[in-house]
């Protein structure tokens, strides 16, 4: 029995319950409402799955960088430029071709947005956290400007692009009470692909080596600088895909303040996921469901921020469980 861990979990629950007491809700009603809002009905489940989609794919973007030893805080910005580029491109080439071109150009834009951070890290030893935060700001303001100016849809009283035609949108993979958009199987496939690539290919092995011990990687014939740049490019491309799919599947256009912080939530998703890419799937679902459930709390005047508190505590506890010391056997 790990008493420290048990104490930590109780402390976490106490914090959540305590902060709820300060509002009009009791912890019990809050928990019930959150459950109802996220899993209580087919509609709620569909909503949770929708919330999960960008978190899953953006979570993969953070995850691959994390495995290479990089903390890509820039997923938010890469997702924004990806979404914007996808919307602009898909509007010009309607139909499935447009969707395809939009997704590809969104990935390219995301990769391009991550590229400078990778180069600066690899060849100038500038920390990626700093550079990607800067790039986030640029991406946010730049896309806001572009969508309020050159790319605004007529008549121009709302900063958004025009809406994609039906044929360009990504439809549902599952219809019925619980609707699942095609973006979800795409995300799951990407997860499986990434997990298998890391586990079974030589280049995946080399990426993991750089993340775990860059010096040993160099002595093993791996060029860490090259791996850092490539990982950043891949991470940015996946982040761009997250933005593109959000446009193609759900939003059907790009607008100012497009992302409520998917890229930042994705950091938590990836941290909670642990060592395997498959871990991103449940992790993204938990984040998506809690975020969906949090909306209902507003009725009781509980601030939505409580969801962030719960997620933060979950990450802390997960970290405490994971990092145990291994004993020497011989």
């Amino acid at each position: 029995m790990n008493w420290k861990l048990v104490a930590l979990i109780f402390a976490a629950l106490a914090i959540v319950a305590g902060s709820l007491m300060l509002t009009k809700a009791t912890p019990m009603t809050a928990a019930t409402e959150m459950f109802k809002g996220s899993l209580g009905s087919p509609r709620a489940i569909s909503g949770s799955i929708r919330e999960m989609t960008p978190l899953l794919i953006a979570g993969l973007a953070v995850f691959i960088a994390l495995r290479a030893g990089l903390f890509n805080i820039g997923v938010e910005g890469q997702l924004l430029v990806g979404a914007f580029t996808c919307a602009v491109v898909a509007l010009r080439a309607p139909g499935p071709t447009g969707a395809m071109l939009g997704a590809v150009s969104g990935m390219a834009a995301g990769a391009l947005w991550a590229y400078p951070a990778g180069l600066i890290k690899a060849y100038r030893n500038g920390h990626e956290v700093i550079t990607t935060i800067m790039l986030n700001n640029i991406a946010g303001y730049l896309t806001s400007y572009l969508v309020a100016g050159p790319f605004i849809a007529p008549p121009g009283d709302y900063p958004a692009t025009a809406t994609l035609g039906e044929a360009t949108r990504l439809g549902n993979f599952l219809e019925g009470p619980v609707a699942v958009n095609w973006a979800i199987p795409i995300g799951l496939l990407a997860t499986a692909g990434l997990a298998l690539w890391l586990r079974y290919t030589v280049s995946g092995y080399e990426l993991l080596a750089v993340g775990a011990n860059p010096t040993a990687a160099r002595f093993s014939g791996v060029d860490p600088a090259r791996v850092v740049v490539r990982s950043m490019l891949a991470s940015g491309a996946i982040a761009g895909l997250a933005g593109a799919l959000q446009v193609l599947a759900y939003e059907h256009r790009f607008y100012a303040d497009f992302s409520p912080g998917y890229g930042f939530d994705a950091l938590g998703v990836a941290l909670l996921a642990g060592g395997s890419a498959f871990g991103v799937i449940p992790s993204a679902f938990v984040f998506g469901a809690l975020s969906r459930g949090g909306i209902r709390l507003a009725i009781y005047e509980v601030p939505k921020g409580i969801v962030g508190v719960i997620l933060g505590l979950m990450i802390l506890i997960a970290a405490a469980i994971r990092y145990r010391k291994v004993k020497t056997v011989a």
């Binding site: 079974y200 030589v202 080596a209 010096t215 040993a216 291994v326 004993k327 056997v329 011989a330």
Partner: protein, 493 residues
Amino acid sequence: MTGVSKRFGSVVALDQVSLTVEKGTLHAVVGENGAGKTTLMRVLYGAWKPDEGTIQIEGKERSFANSHEAMLAGVGMVSQHYGIVPEPTNLQNLILGAEGGAIIDLAEAEQRASSIAKKMGFAFDWHAEASRLSPAGAQKLEILKLLWKDSEVMILDEPTAMLSPADSDALFGSLRQLVDEGRTVILVTHRLPEVMEHCRRVTVLRNGKAVADREVGETTSQELAQLIVGGAMVAPEPSPAREPGPPMLDVSSLTVRGAKGHEALKDVDLTVRAGEVVGIAGVDGSGQRELYHAIVGIVDPESGTVGMGGADVTGRSTADRLDGGLRIIPEDRHAEGVVEEWSLVENSSLGLQRWAPLRKGRMIDTKRRSEWAQRVVDRFKTRHGGLGLPLSSLSGGNQQRFVAARALESQPRLIIAFQPARGLDILGTADIYRAIRQRCDEGAGALIVSFDLDELLEHCDRLVVMNSGSLRRPPEGREKDRDAIGRLMVSAS
């Protein structure tokens, strides 16, 4: 210091060492690497507690719980690797550890700093970043740090290792001045000319024992060299009957700059032929590390070439060299050779991930890799709790066995081993050298770096010596003469 002993586990680092230093003199402590010099000094300034023995300063018996207490008692040490923090200014570095209170009066500090520096004849830009200091400047700042703390007994560990001859002379000028003021300086060194020229007395340590204590005026550097390495000659092993084959490693006029910009390797020529086990002797920091990095392909040489198996590989990647059969038993396995949190299986292919037997195209052949991991642990009987456990579950010696087996079992053509027996007992050491010999009999070449001269004498076909970045060869016919090699290790160029 009287009868000081210090043990680390089963290793006796110091065995009943006594050292008497007269106030107001420059006293040298000399010996090979691992002789116990640094350990003795660390005991003196309180970093380590002795298991036995006492320390007296000016007649009073002292016992220091930590180096802060030693500092208060007036004992200070400048270690081999300077304790200068690069980002802060010189002034901030100077007062680090002796700020004198929670609030720092920088103006007052600067005044006092300037007056101390002036007395020593040093000039510093106090507001410049310390990272801009030259090695000599950093050394001076370290000495000022001791004066700032009013140290009466100053210990300097290999102070001239990074200095040019001119800077070294200047340093000894300053040290003389300190001694004339009545301070006491203990100099830890392996450079005998320094001892002969500047010191009053000298104490020789060997294998953790003080073997001699001499007035410098009454000894010679030959006698000291003999005392340092132990005098006795090792009977040379019967030379291998076979003729060495074609060159596996060909280093030619290689010059490499070190981390501080100095020429760490100067115009080095070295050939290792198939069938040969060549040892590089020398005290730590003489350029062995830079040579090892240049051969592995981690640093680019300033000039000169590295050839392997007849092909010029200068400027080629480490991956290309590994592909050509280079196998490394790294100096620091934690940093350079393994990922501790990975399993034994995953670690068994580190550095061999592109080796044909362990992959199918771009994919890892996981079945073959598991079999391979089994072979690696079996080779030197690595004790483990399961191939799927993290490597950190192995003890240090077993990790070393693992790393050595990984290199030696994977068809090496050129073996570069840096302290291959680190952390191993006598049997483990013999096992690994026997395996290296076996690979060389099959046509590989091996280059071994070690700071343990006896180990090299016992296991290598011939020895070369690194001293201050240059490679020296013992005279013809005396390739394994302990005496000649000892002298080459410590004498000035």
